[in-house]
Amino acid sequence: MRADTAAGALPLSGRRRKAGPRVRLMPQLTGWGFVGPATLVIVGLSIFPAVWALILSLRDDNLLAPGTFVGLQNYRDLLDDPDLMAATGHTLLYSVLFVPGSLLIGLPIALALNRPLRFRAFYRTCLFVPYVVSAAATGILANFVLDPQFGIVNDLLAGLGVARQGFLQDPSQALLTLVVVSLWGSVGLPIVVYLAALQDIPRELIEAARVDGAGPLRVFRAVTLPQLRPATVFLVIWQTIDALQLFDLVYTTTKGQPLDSTTVIVFYLYQQAFKLFHAGYGAAVAYALFVVTLLVSGLALWYARRGEAAA
């Protein structure tokens, strides 16, 4: 911080050397004084815990008994942990279904809501409400509605002549069911983002395309979609981070069951750290996930920039 302040003051102090740097230092310090409390809060609430977790990940520690420093052993263990591999598989499958799914569902709904419709505001509100509801509430609701024996969905299916399903309690359906529940809960975000982006598309562009003889499909492909590109990039990154860090919905519905079929990475590290007393190992898993998330986001951004330059 000190060095920054001094460097910032230099060009100015060069002009009137006689007054000396002290005169200019004061406003700088005042500035820091105002920024300071917020900086302290940010450092205290995010950077300090992050550093602390990094140190923890290098230890064999359960946060209760005095642990030992084990260097990179926890990270080596990551590579040889079949349960973690399984959890990674679940997270990947979930992400691959959830991210494109939320965009593919969100975009058509946004397009529909962008047209002059009766009660448009009402529909918009309806579609956005699940997004505002906490994941905990969504999870509890899903548990009720999808209960294999007593849930309303199976009653409806039975009425339609379809066999009763296990949903969250069937090892082969649970993860898919979770994807559907999360889509219901979070499709509001792509809708709102796409709606905003759609309204930002200049009317002249669309009109010009029409004048040139483009049909509605051509307008959509040649004008609308490219114009939505920044929104799409943002949504892909945002939803991917969300998907990789899935936890609360699992915690409130399946707790990783049945047969660990919904144990995703963050739930697995929670179990390791807080249920099985391996806090050091849990922190290592968290850091590995952090690095992967960073890489994925970086890659997506790079790809998007490259595409823009090419276009």
């Binding site: 409390p37 209760l64 007593f150 519905t253 069951q257 049945p258 047969l259």
Partner: protein, 426 residues
């Protein structure tokens, strides 16, 4: 000058804030403070607050501060981990017995051996299962806060409707299976019984009595190998598989929160559960009975899961005050108010001789049966730090069998091999 002042105003609150977070001091105005995380909400919390108030009045030098800590005791350890990392744990916290081995390795956990050995404490008046759950390698890590055991609770209405005779204390597991089958009525959504298939300790501890009843044990006598995959245990697990998969008489509860509510609403005929259900059973006006677990060859052993009040050492003054308070709290008179008032079994036998217990037994149908069943809790789970890891493997094995994805034989031997690996690591 004004700028300087601005600087001061901007910085000082931040410093004050961080200092304020620094924590509670031990003895303000000469009083010794005992921070007590009891984990109890609502009516239970009020009972404990009343006890603390009363203690504070009669002990002017001490202030016991009851705080909830967390409303779900499942999260208590996590909360205390955070508090320990911050260097400021509570003086007393409510802890599950399954955490004892790990707590014993925590330097801040006070050894209560001298407290319980004092004749006035009456340690022998507590059930063996409680004393065992509180003791790890000779270190007493806590004193009992709640005691329970598993028994068989049955809904008389459903038995009458199906024309099945009520369970008796001499029931075998085969009797249990055939009754469950006859109680099951898919068209009405009624199950004979249920099993908690969360894959965690809640799944595992329900299985141990069947192993123990047939002379088996969880680990070898030297504690170095898994010993639970006996042919008898395989047969017991096979019985549950047949009930769940073939008979379809078992409701598999995958988050452990539905099986009791389903019993209260008459959807399940029998539950393997503990005295903690008695309050809800009374509230829902269920006409029920309680017998010991079904047995093998007349052996009806059960399992007990006692919880503890654990003391964290925040300096000798506070630790001593915490111990004195716990000695008072666990006296029969106070126990009657806490345990009986919250619908739990008394934590010590002397409490059951008090008039308050007679009132309690009148109010709760199953009280006498659960109290008598406490004598069937003669064995305990191993107090080793790797037990949670081993339990997780066994929980998975049981779940796979109940869902029909593995045979009892391969699941249990597989879990035993995993357990051996964990034990070898130490």
């Amino acid at each position: 000058m004004i700028r300087k002042l601005a600087l001061v105003f901007a910085v000082v609150p931040a410093l004050a804030l961080s200092a304020a977070c620094g924590g509670q001091s031990g003895d303000d105005d000469g009083k010794v403070t005992v921070v007590w995380w009891h984990g109890q909400a609502d009516a239970e919390g009020d009972i404990l607050k009343g006890l603390a108030d009363e203690y504070n009045k009669s002990h002017p030098g001490i202030e016991v501060k009851p705080e909830v800590g967390t409303t779900n005791v499942d999260d208590m350890l996590q909360k205390v981990q955070a508090a320990l990392a911050g260097g400021d744990p509570p003086d007393i916290a409510y802890m599950y017995g399954s955490w004892s081995a790990t707590l014993a390795e925590t330097p801040r956990v006070a050894d209560l051996s001298s407290l319980v050995k004092d004749p006035s404490f009456g340690w022998d008046d507590f059930w063996p299962a409680e004393r065992e759950a509180a003791t790890v390698d000779g270190k007493v890590i806590g004193v009992p806060s709640v005691v329970d055991n598993l028994g068989l609770i049955y809904n008389k209405k459903l038995f009458d409707a199906a024309g099945v005779a009520y369970p008796t204390k001499d029931w075998t597991w085969d009797d249990f299976r055939s009754a469950a089958k006859r109680l099951t009525d898919a068209s009405k959504g009624v199950f004979g019984t249920s099993y908690v298939a969360t894959g965690d300790e809640d799944t595992v501890w329900r299985f141990w009595p069947m192993l123990w009843q047939q002379g088996g044990s969880i680990l070898s006598p030297d504690g170095k190998n898994a010993a639970f995959a006996t042919p008898q245990a395989v047969q017991s697990l096979e019985l549950w598989r047949a009930m769940a998969v073939d008979d379809k008489s078992v409701y598999l509860d995958q988050n452990g929160e539905k099986f009791l509510p389903l019993f209260y609403s008459g959807k399940v005929g029998m539950e393997i559960a503990g005295p903690w259900a008695m309050r809800d059973l009374a509230d829902h006006k269920v006409d029920y009975g309680v017998v010991p677990l079904p047995g093998y060859g007349g052996n009806h052993q059960t399992i007990s899961g006692p919880d503890n009040w654990v003391v964290f050492d925040n300096g000798s003054k506070r630790a001593q005050a915490a111990k004195d308070f716990l000695a008072w709290l666990t006296k029969p008179e106070q126990d009657a108010r806490w345990s009986l008032g919250s619908g739990n079994l008394p934590i010590r036998q002397a409490t059951s001789k008090l008039p308050a217990y007679k009132e309690f037994a009148k109010q709760y149908l199953g009280a006498d049966a659960f109290l008598a069943n406490q004598d069937n809790a003669v064995q305990a789970r191993p107090s080793i730090t790797s037990y949670p890891d081993i339990s997780a493997k066994i929980g998975d094995a049981i779940d796979r069998v109940l869902l029909g994805q593995a045979t009892a034989q391969e699941a249990l031997t597989g879990a035993a091999a995993e357990a051996d690996k964990i034990l070898a690591k130490g």
